[in-house]
Symmetry: C2
Subunit: 113 residues, 2 copies
Amino acid sequence: MLDESPNGGREAVDGEAVAAVAKALAHPARVKIIGFLLSRAGCIGGDIVDEIGLAQSTVSEHLRILKAAGLVVGTIERPRICYSLDPSVLAPLRALIASIEAHGGPQTGAVCA
Amino acid sequence: MLDESPNGGREAVDGEAVAAVAKALAHPARVKIIGFLLSRAGCIGGDIVDEIGLAQSTVSEHLRILKAAGLVVGTIERPRICYSLDPSVLAPLRALIASIEAHGGPQTGAVCA
DNA sequence: CATATCAATCGGCAATCGACGATACAAGCG
DNA sequence: CGCTTGTATCGTCGATTGCCGATTGATATG
């Protein structure tokens, strides 16, 4: 399972790592790109440009950000580049969400000091 | 379970909603605040200021963003305000992450056209 | 009523972001 | 060799973000 929790799961939240992944997801265009990559096995940037209706340079920039975050990998497959998703970097964000959801709702013993 | 997937879970990704939540999580200071709120049941802003080492106005601004995203609710409990987490808005982001992780790694049939 | 406490807001500043067009680059193909 | 195709990079612009100190507002307490 490749668990990165040496102390048992009650670890302090790794703010930097979570923020980095969340930042990559913090733009509708990038989420759309990911959704598009989910619907295909992976693929052409030109199709993404056509799909989300932004300029080619803008899409390339979003893809660069997604690649920098590790969410997307671009396999060079001349003359195209095959884009696909890499779920592994999602682990910290997933862990934070799980912690919050396990923590309970706003009314669960939310008594102030 | 309050499932918001009327079509069965294979729905198109809601870019706006996901991006809005991710944006709130896209800053280390805000992730730290959430981590702090996880360690307590909820509470005082002054403690948060002391914990993460930013100015009070800055922390208040981050709390405003978290509240605007719906991640944090502030119960007015004079003279303090009781901050606590609301997991419900995490659903879209959680769903996207689940979809990506279910989609498989970068090598899973990632054959271009 | 005066004071202390806690949170929110304001004004300003530097830095980053998001978008675009134009251009450069690399590889197949006639 | 020139052309087309697909992608990356550059320069620029306006908008937004993040941070701060200072101030204001609301409420308990002396």
